[in-house]
C-alpha cells in the first residue's frame, strides 16, 4: 500500500506569488489534513477536508485555501506569498483509530 505522497518536494517562490502544493492520501482514505511546520512554531493545523468538503480550518488568513478532488487528492493554495509563509507543509490523514499519518512534506521557501 502506497503512503501519502506530496509534491513538489521543494518549492521556491518570491513574495507576492502564488504557491500550489499537492497531496494524495493513502488509497481508500477520504480525509486530508494540512499542517504548516514553521521553524520554532511546531505544527499548526491548516485545513481538514473530507469527502470533498472543507470540514475545519485553523487560524490562517483566507489567502490559504485548498480543495479536495473526487479521487480524494488535495491541493493547498497560498496566495500573495509572504516571507513568513516559508515552512514545511505536511499533509496526511487519519486512521479509524484516530492516529494521524503524514507525508514527507513540501518545503516552501519564499524569497
Amino acid at each position: 500500500e502506497a503512503g501519502v505522497t506530496q509534491s513538489p518536494t521543494h518549492l521556491i517562490k518570491t513574495r507576492g506569488q502564488q504557491a500550489t502544493l499537492r497531496c494524495s492520501p493513502i488509497s481508500g482514505h477520504t480525509s486530508v489534513y494540512w499542517y504548516q511546520q514553521a521553524l520554532g512554531l511546531g505544527l499548526q493545523f491548516l485545513l481538514w477536508y473530507d469527502e470533498g468538503e472543507e470540514r475545519n480550518r485553523g487560524n490562517f488568513p483566507p489567502r490559504f485555501s485548498g480543495r479536495q478532488f473526487p479521487n480524494y487528492s488535495s491541493e493547498l493554495n497560498v496566495n500573495a506569498l509572504e516571507l513568513e509563509d516559508s515552512a514545511l507543509y505536511l499533509c496526511g490523514g487519519r486512521t479509524s483509530s484516530y492516529e494521524q499519518y503524514f507525508g514527507p512534506g513540501t518545503r516552501l521557501t519564499v524569497t
Binding site: Y33, Y35, G40, L41, G42, L43, Q44, F45, W48, R55, N56, G58, L90, G92, S97, Y98, E99, Q100, Y101, F102, G103, P104, G105
Partner: protein, 114 residues
C-alpha cells in the same frame, strides 16, 4: 483558547538513563492525546495515544506516556534512553467533536548523549 504546551524546547539525557518529555494541555472535555516523533529525513510518525482507560499507555520503541487528568498532563517517558531516540517530539490533543481541530505542541528536541 485551547492549547498544548511543551515547556522544554530541549531535553538532554545520557544514554541508559530514564527520560521524560513534558506535555500539558488545555482542551475542553476529555480530549484524545497523542505523541508523535519526527526523525531527521524520516517524516513525522505516530508514537502512542490515550483515548480512554488505563492512565499508562505504551507505544512504539519502548516509549510510554502517563495521563494525569487532574494535572491535565500527558508526559512521555522511557526507562532507558538510546542514542537513536534523539529526535523532535510533539504532543497533540484533539477534542472528539466532529469539527475538532488537532492541536500540536511546539515540540521538544530530545538529545541522547552516548
Amino acid at each position: 483558547a485551547q492549547s498544548v504546551a511543551q515547556p522544554e524546547d530541549q531535553v538532554n539525557v545520557a544514554e541508559g538513563n530514564p527520560l521524560t518529555v513534558k506535555c500539558t494541555y488545555s482542551v475542553s472535555g476529555n480530549p484524545y492525546l497523542f505523541w508523535y516523533v519526527q526523525y531527521p529525513n524520516r517524516g513525522l510518525q505516530f508514537l502512542l495515544k490515550y483515548i480512554t482507560g488505563d492512565n499508562l499507555v505504551k507505544g512504539s520503541y519502548g516509549f510510554e506516556a502517563e495521563f494525569n487528568k487532574s494535572q491535565t498532563s500527558f508526559h512521555l517517558k522511557k526507562p532507558s534512553a538510546l542514542v537513536s531516540d534523539s529526535a523532535l517530539y510533539f504532543c497533540a490533543a484533539e477534542g472528539y467533536s466532529s469539527a475538532s481541530k488537532i492541536i500540536f505542541g511546539s515540540g521538544t528536541r530530545l538529545s541522547i548523549r552516548p
